[in-house]
């Protein structure tokens, strides 16, 4: 469904991506793994149209995302949960979710559904986003993206800085979302979390995609983790 073909991108004169390719099927969870600075976040920004490609193509269900203006991409059902959450800090929980509903004009039943997934947010609708705890902020970032009823969800380090119980909660949400048929592109540093949710892994090194592996293959042979991440 998502097809990323040999993309390159640069921040001004600094070339960051030099050929990243992977694909992702509907209802699949794929994880991009790589060291800090490898370019994982940059790949997501490219998918969202926030950074122009200097080469390559990105298509979603046959639609060339890279030809669209950045604000049109979410309308095709791409939900983005960025690294560091990037909530609208001075807006309330309810207003953040309302922004999430704008792109596809999702009805109130979508909001009810999302609040059903995150009951803690339902209790805090009038609280400003910046006053939420770290875990609640992460939930809000995910809820905001789910409000546009995505068919593709981009999750950039959703467990960063969270305690184990919260990580577990997020893992369950990701699995539920997948079960509902949404494709998930995940960037995650915690190898154990990756091994327990992802169906496939693509390694990114130095702005280039290396090998893609099924999760079973990776579980059986962890040498790739040592090679690309220096862990095992």
């Amino acid at each position: 469904m998502l097809e990323v073909r040999d993309i390159s991108a640069a921040y001004g004169p600094v070339q960051v991506l030099r050929g990243v390719s992977f694909s992702l099927g509907a209802g699949e969870i794929m994880c991009l793994l790589g060291r800090n600075g490898a370019g994982k976040t940059t790949v997501m920004k490219c998918i969202m149209g926030l950074l122009p490609l200097s080469a390559g193509q990105i298509t979603l269900g046959g639609i060339a995302l890279d030809r669209l203006a950045a604000h049109e991409i979410s309308r095709h059902g791409v939900g983005y949960v960025p690294q560091g959450r990037r909530l609208f800090s001075e807006l309330t929980v309810a207003q953040n979710l309302e922004v999430g509903r704008l792109a596809r004009r999702s009805g109130p039943e979508v909001l009810d559904h999302v609040l059903g997934i995150f009951p803690r947010l339902a209790e805090r609708l009038d609280q400003r986003a910046e006053t939420l705890s770290g875990g609640e902020q992460q939930m809000l970032a995910m809820a905001r993206a789910l409000c546009l009823e995505p068919r593709l969800l981009l999750l950039d380090e959703p467990t960063e800085g969270l305690q184990p119980s919260m990580i577990e909660a997020i893992r369950h949400v990701v699995l539920d979302v997948q079960a509902a048929g949404v494709a998930v592109l995940l960037v995650e540093q915690r190898v154990d979390a990756v091994l327990s949710v992802a169906s496939r892994v693509t390694f990114v090194e130095n702005g280039q995609s290396r090998e893609a592996m099924d999760i079973e293959a990776l579980r059986a042979d962890r040498s790739a983790l040592v090679r690309y991440l220096g862990v095992q």
Partner: protein, 312 residues
Amino acid sequence: MEFGPYLMLASLEGAVTTAVLSLTAVGLSLVFGVMRVVNVAHGEFFMLGAVLAWWIASAIGGMGGNPALGFVIALVLAPLVVGSIAAVADLTILSRIDYDPERTIVATIGLLYIMQQVTLMTYGPDARPVEAPFNARIALPWVEFADGRPQIYWPWGFGTTTYKLGVIVAAAIVLLGVWFVMARTRIGLIMRATQLDRDMALAFGIPVGRVYAFVFGLGAGLAALAAVLVVPIQQAHYLMGGDPLLLSFIVVIIGGLGSLPGTVLAALLIGMSDGIISVFFSPTLAKIIATLLVALVLVFRPQGLFGTRATR
């Protein structure tokens, strides 16, 4: 009868200045807040509003229309026209240079001269008045204790006009409207989301380019509206944009860049002190003190007197 009546008169003048200034400054503050753009041409949008008001009012008057009708039409039409001009300038110039801070300042300086010179070439160098739609004098009573009993002074030779009170009321209504739009409506939510995080706004489907054009037009339209309100008191002139620009910058800096409530409070502070110092001392002293205040704010409280956080 001493100090009291003069203070009252000065406060009324100050309230009129506050009304006009807060509209103009809120326009500048909105543009800076949402777009992070320093619009040096803001005063010229004000001037265009006044000049257009004269044009519209005299066209209607020339057709034998009621002057009050001319004014009302100008009040609606001039801000719309000026706002559209600004939106077009945003789409054709500022967006092309990607709102790069330095280049935006240069580009808006260019706009300033274009608007000023085109006005000089077409409207000419004269200052021209627009007739107020209503302008009755009201004498204000003053009560003072003398010889152990209250004495009332009324009617007495000092007072104000209904039009000045009208300006204050109109400005208050418009400011409430701006607050309502920002706080309670979808377009306000879109503007605030854009202000808080441009990239995330894009990622959630907000057409940031169009929002910017709208905000730039809205800011210019507010300045034009303030000018239409002031032109029956002040006359339209092609160089009249300088003071509003300077004072708006002073107010926006004191109020905290991009903070709308802070901007209104600062307009109150500057407008009232301007009125009072002008009446008791001199207008020049009022400007000197305001400018000094800005310098002090910049040194000791760069987030503004009413700003709560450091500017980003």
